[in-house]
């Protein structure tokens, strides 16, 4: 049996996505910037894609910009707004549990002379609204907070955060890294006071190499990629028609049955957590069952190194990811697990299981069965 439980790394494409990708590569392959009919046809795909995506967010089509993926969206949102608004202030706020696509550009901006405040989180991975409010000053131009944490599935109260930011400083922009949240939650930027929102295609059964950044029309932002002036000059480069069309099809489809899929994943999660909690020396990280994201479970199997358990599961057709890429050479571990106060032992033995709507209950049963079988054997052999 095969069980793919690494859907937060990437997902399988929908059939419909594949179809439109092939069609725009083989038949309607024109360049949207071209003046002839083939160009016009291709441009229609781009417009259509923006429209479909905008509809899921209840925003305007003109506020959707296609990028090469989540990382570019995050980079652009941070660097683009920080630089464009630096005369207003050079203070930025983020959290200690962001993805490197946010934390690395933040560090880069620090090198350029910006001040960055990193909010800590509690044991479950939640930031404190009070701390956030205290951190915001006149100088704060941007707050960047991830919706769903990619490692432990912690979910922030984005609506409350948005309200709190604007209440303290209406000029502070709010960027949300929604790469693990889009397609799982209904996100309405206007209502939630989100000014910028990053999304990636391949996390929602779309193609790799495509994503988008929602930018509220009022936001002042600089383009990072300069060139032929595509996407109103904000993001140059020949339009990725297959990518954008594929992403739009995936977005439309994933929001069709959102509630029932969420319920399905919640059941899977419940089942997995229940099974794991009955095993000895297994620690499940993050928020209580109902509060965390339904598609992510992160657990430490103390006494067994993540890598070893991962490869053991792999031999049985089970694909998961190591909570922290820890090796004998690099023992720093994951910032998220550090931030929620995991011990070294827990960090070194953490695995992440992540589901999609395609995951089945049988797969969960199989995973639990295999883990129960291999754990005692693996725990016999350790470094000491």
């Amino acid at each position: 049996m095969e069980a793919y439980l690494d859907n937060s790394a990437t997902t399988r494409c929908y059939e419909e996505v594949k179809d439109v990708v092939v069609k725009t590569m083989m038949e309607d392959y024109g360049n949207p910037s071209a003046m002839h009919q083939k160009g016009v046809d291709a441009e229609n795909y781009m417009k259509d894609a923006a429209r479909k995506i905008a509809k899921t967010l209840k925003v305007s089509d003109q506020e959707i910009y296609f990028t090469s993926g989540g990382t570019e969206s995050d980079n652009w949102a941070l660097v683009g707004t920080a630089l464009a608004n630096q005369r207003r202030g050079k203070h930025l706020i983020t959290t200690a549990i962001e993805h490197p696509a946010v934390s690395a550009p933040m560090a880069y901006l620090e090198e350029l002379g910006f001040t960055v405040t990193r909010l800590g989180v509690d044991k479950e991975g939640r930031i404190s609204l009070e701390e956030l409010e205290d951190a915001i000053t006149e100088e704060t131009t941007l707050v960047s907070i991830m919706y769903v944490n990619n490692e432990i599935g912690a979910v922030q109260d984005i609506q409350a955060i948005g309200a709190r930011i604007k209440q303290k400083n209406p000029d502070t922009y709010f960027h949300v890294d929604a790469i693990q949240a889009y397609g799982k939650y209904r996100i309405y930027p206007k209502k939630m006071k989100i000014d910028l929102l990053s999304v990636s295609g391949h996390k929602i059964h779309g193609p790799k190499g495509i994503g988008f950044l929602y930018i509220d029309e009022k936001v002042k932002i600089r383009p990072l990629i300069l060139g032929g002036g595509q996407q109103t000059g904000m993001r140059s480069g020949t339009d990725n028609v297959p990518g954008a069309s594929g992403l739009a099809v995936a977005a439309e489809k994933i929001y069709e049955n959102l509630e029932s899929q969420m319920a399905h994943m919640q059941e899977l999660k419940q089942k997995l957590c229940q099974g794991l909690s009955q095993m000895e020396r297994v620690v499940i990280h993050g928020m209580p069952l109902e509060e965390g994201a339904p598609q992510i479970v992160n657990a430490s199997f103390t006494g067994v190194r993540s890598e070893v358990l991962l490869h053991t599961l792999e031999e049985r057709g089970i694909y998961v990811s190591a909570g922290s890429a820890c090796s004998s050479h690099k023992r720093s571990g994951s910032p998220t697990l550090n931030a929620i106060g995991c011990s070294m032992e827990e960090k070194e033995s953490a695995l992440r299981f992540s589901f999609s709507e395609l995951t089945t209950m049988e797969e969960i049963d199989y995973v639990l069965e295999v883990i129960a079988e291999v754990l005692p054997m693996l725990r016999r052999y350790t470094r000491h």
């Binding site: 890598e307 070893v308 358990l309 991962l310 490869h311 053991t312 792999e314 031999e315 090796s327 004998s328 050479h329 690099k330 016999r380 052999y381 350790t382 470094r383 000491h384």
Partner: protein, 392 residues
Amino acid sequence: MFKAFLIKYAEIGIKGKNRYLFEEALVNQIRYALRNVEGTFKVTREQGRIYVFTEGEFDYDETVEALKTVFGISGICPVVVLEDEGFEKLAGEVVSYVQHMYPDSHATFKVHARRARKTYPMDSMELNCELGGRILDVCPDMKVDVHKPEILLTVEIRKAIYVYSETIPGPGGMPVGTNGSAMLLLSGGIDSPVAGYMIAKRGVKIDAVYFHAPPYTSERAKQKVVDLAKLVARYSGPIRLHVVNFTEIQLYIYDQCPHDELTIIMRRYMMKIAESFAHQDGALGLITGESIGQVASQTIQSLACTNEVCTMPVFRPLIGFDKQEIVDIALKINTYETSILPFEDCCTIFVAKHPVTKPNLNIIKRSEKHLEEKIDEMMETAVSTAETIEVE
């Protein structure tokens, strides 16, 4: 401009009656090294010299890079090949060669003519004088020095005429295949690929064995070792890599023996297994990347203890090297970047916090008694189930 390369070799020249064997091996290794280079090459051996002739278009830089990986080559001279169309034409070509190669030069030079074709109307001395004079005419800043010239311009008169003056250093050593073969214990580290390179340099064909411990070591760790073997194979020629599943044996030792002796005992069995592959492949020795005192398992006591199981000579070319010296070679042969990729190898996964550094052979042997029941069978299984990968 260059249409051929004269290959200089050093040590082969002193091999007496076996010399032809070395030269043949060198010719074969050169052909092998050039097999994927863009261009058509003819490698010939004539009158005690080896030439690489090119036909039609070829990539000069790629060719030189490939030749630099062939052990046995001490120098590579790019050669201009001229048709014999009379002395005047030759003199003109030689002068323009010098002008092109050494523009505005103040160097000292000497013309060294060799007349292999004795029917040429001028003899070597005449050619030296005449050509030297022509060069001085157009390059007034150059001077002749017949004892220690900075530029030695050779003009060989054969069926065609060859002109050369530059020597690109080769890797030295002896052609692979002229000194039998040996089995390299290849890990994912920095040292063992360098050790393999150094032994191959002495003309030894290399095969290798890697100990894999799934699930404790990953598929990527194995891929890394295959990649390292590929990098060494650029110099050594094809390597037969045996990938041994070592997990069972390692766990058995873990269960039966004191933990601080695990590494030493494990290494003794690795040597034994490597030897059995050496027998299979007709290799006459083992190669390791050990260096005295580098880690607990490489103290002189540990080395003695590990060595005790071996019946073949064990070559340890890095034995007296400091880490930095090893790293320097790894950088030169381009294995360093791959070696430092952070995947665990089977030597580190169960390593004790304080492994023995001065193992006592008698105590180790006593501990190994606890393995008697199953170990022979396990070793046989490990050998018979090994995966063999032909790496080029």
